[in-house]
C-alpha cells in the first residue's frame, strides 16, 4: 500500500492511494493536487536520524572524479532539511551549481542494533523517494559534503508516498530517473548501488542503533545537472513514486 501524510482542510492526516486519488480515513476520495503533502513519515518523539550516502553508485563516483569508496561515505541531516512533495526549494542567490539527487530512501520500521545482513529487510518499514539537493558552490573539504551544501532548510524533499516494504519485493532492481521541466536528465537503476540496502543496515546498526522512522538515503547515480529558479524537478523511482519539486 502507498501511504501519504497530508494536510487536507487544515487537518494533518494519513491517506492512501486509491485509483489515482487519495483515500482519507473517513472514506472520502480527494484529488492528489487538493492537499498539502508532507514527508510521509510518522512523527517521532526524539528527532529522527537521517543518514545519507554519497558516491554510492559507481557511475556517480566516476562522474565526480573520485574513486569508489571502500566503505560507505555517509553524512547526517537535520529534520530542517526535509520537505514535502510539490513544495519549493530555494536556490541561494549567486550560486553557479545546484543539483538534485534522486535517491531510494529506506524508512526503518523497528529498532535495529547489530543486525545481520540476512535479517536486514525485516527492519524496513517501507520506501520512499528523496531528492537530496546539493549546492556545490559551498563544498569544502572539511567533513565533506559539509552541511552548508547538504543541510539547507527544505532542500531535501521526501515523498510522495511511503510504500510498504512488502509491496517492494526487490528494492535493489528499481529504475530511477529525474526530469527537469519534462526532459530526462538522470536515469539509473538501484541495482548499481555500491553498498546495497541490507549492507547499509548491517553496517550502520553495527555501531549505532537505528530506530523506527529513521531514514537512509541511499545515494544517486550519474546525471546531475544545474537547476534554476522555476525549474520543475521530478525524481522518480519505479514502484515507489514520482516526487515533484520546484526551484524557487
Amino acid at each position: 500500500m502507498k501511504h501519504a501524510r497530508i494536510v487536507h482542510t487544515g487537518v494533518t492526516q494519513w491517506a492512501t492511494e486509491r485509483d489515482g486519488q487519495l483515500l482519507l480515513a473517513d472514506g472520502r476520495l480527494v484529488p492528489l493536487d487538493a492537499v498539502t503533502w508532507l514527508p510521509p513519515l510518522e512523527p517521532v518523539v526524539a528527532p529522527r536520524t537521517i543518514l545519507a550516502l554519497g558516491l554510492n553508485y559507481a557511475d556517480h563516483a566516476k562522474e565526480l572524479a573520485f574513486k569508489a569508496p571502500e566503505e560507505p561515505l555517509v553524512f547526517l541531516k537535520g529534520e530542517n532539511a526535509l520537505n514535502g512533495h510539490r513544495q519549493f526549494t530555494r536556490r541561494p542567490e549567486g550560486v553557479k551549481f545546484m543539483h538534485y539527487e534522486c535517491e531510494l530512501t529506506v524508512v526503518i520500521g523497528r529498532e535495529a542494533r547489530k543486525v545481520k545482513h540476512a535479517d536486514a529487510y525485516d527492519f524496513v518499514r517501507g520506501y520512499t523517494v528523496a531528492n537530496d539537493y546539493a549546492v556545490r558552490d559551498y563544498l569544502e573539504n572539511w567533513y565533506r559534503p559539509n552541511l552548508r551544501v547538504k543541510n539547507r532548510d527544505g532542500a531535501t524533499p521526501v515523498g510522495p508516498w511511503l510504500v510498504d516494504a512488502g509491496d517492494v519485493p526487490n528494492p535493489m532492481a528499481l529504475a530511477l530517473s529525474t526530469t527537469v521541466n519534462g526532459k530526462v536528465t538522470q536515469s539509473g537503476n538501484t541495482k548499481d548501488m555500491i553498498f546495497d540496502v541490507p549492507f547499509l543496515i548491517e553496517y550502520f546498526s553495527a555501531f549505532m542503533t537505528l530506530r523506527p522512522g529513521d531514514l537512509i538515503l541511499t545515494g544517486t547515480p550519474d546525471g546531475v545537472v544545474d537547476c534554476r529558479p522555476g525549474d520543475v524537478v521530478v525524481t522518480e523511482i519505479e514502484g515507489i513514486g514520482a516526487l515533484m519539486n520546484t526551484i524557487a
Binding site: 526524539a46 547526517l76 573539504n141 572539511w142 559534503p145 543541510n151 555501531f207 530506530r211
Partner: protein, 208 residues
C-alpha cells in the same frame, strides 16, 4: 530534563584557534586544500545521547575515546538562545577531518548531556565561560571560551545563514585542542561555573 527536549544536536569543529594552530600548514594541503570558510559542523543523533551520571558503553574494539568537552547553546527559537548546557562529545580518535565523522562520533551513548541550563541573559557572556575536565578526579584540561574563532553570537549568525536552528536544536561552541583520552573504568567529569557538572563513566559494552 534537557536531554528530553533536544531536537537536532550540532557539533562544531575548528572553532578554537588552538585546533587550527595544531593543524598548522596541513589546512592548505590535500585533502583540505584551504582553511575552512563556513562553520564546520557535524550532527550527534539521538542514539548518542546520554544523561548526566549515565554509564557510556565502549565496544571491545574501542580501547580509548577522545573527550570533547564543550558548552552548547540550546535554542528557544530561530536566532534566540534559551541557555547553555555542558556536553561531553566523545569520539573514537581520528586524524582526518575530510569525511563526515559518523563512524567515529555516532556510537550509542557517545554524547553526555548536562542537566543544568544556564539561561541566556544580558549578563551571561559565553566568551567568559571556563570549563574543566577531570578524569578520575584529576584535572586533565581547562578550556577558555574567549579563544573561539567565531564567538557564540557570530557562530549562530554564520550557521543561520544556511540553516535554521529551531526550538530544541543545539549548537556546540567547539572543543579546544588537547582533548584528553579516556578508557573503560574512567569517570569523566566536566564542570563550569553556572553550568554545574556533567559526569559519565565508561564501561565495557556487554557481549552480545
Amino acid at each position: 530534563m534537557i536531554v528530553d527536549t533536544m531536537r537536532t544536536v550540532y557539533g562544531t569543529l575548528l572553532n578554537f584557534r588552538s585546533e587550527l594552530e595544531t593543524l598548522g600548514a596541513q589546512v592548505n594541503e590535500p585533502p583540505y586544500g584551504a582553511p575552512p570558510k563556513a562553520p564546520v559542523l557535524y550532527i550527534k543523533p539521538a542514539n548518542t545521547w546520554s544523561r548526566n551520571g549515565a554509564a557510556i558503553a565502549l565496544p571491545a574494539r574501542v580501547a580509548k575515546v577522545e573527550v570533547g568537552a564543550t558548552i552548547a547553546m540550546l535554542m528557544k527559537a530561530p536566532g534566540e538562545v534559551a541557555g547553555y548546557v555542558l556536553m561531553n562529545d566523545l569520539s573514537i580518535p581520528h586524524t582526518s577531518y575530510f569525511r563526515p565523522p559518523v563512524k567515529f562520533k555516532c556510537l550509542d551513548g557517545f554524547l553526555g548531556v548536562g542537566d543544568t541550563l544556564l539561561p541566556a541573559a544580558a549578563d551571561v557572556d559565553p566568551s567568559r565561560f571556563r570549563l574543566e575536565v577531570r578524569i578520575n578526579g584529576e584535572l586533565k584540561q581547562s578550556m577558555n571560551f574567549s579563544q573561539l574563532v567565531r564567538p557564540a553570537a557570530q557562530l549562530l549568525a554564520d550557521v543561520g545563514e544556511f540553516m535554521t536552528l529551531a526550538a530544541g536544536d543545539v549548537l556546540m561552541l567547539g572543543v579546544d585542542a588537547g582533548r584528553p583520552l579516556a578508557r573503560v573504568g574512567d569517570r569523566i567529569e566536566i564542570s563550569a561555573d553556572g553550568l554545574g557538572s556533567l559526569s559519565n563513566t565508561l564501561v565495557a559494552e556487554a557481549a552480545s
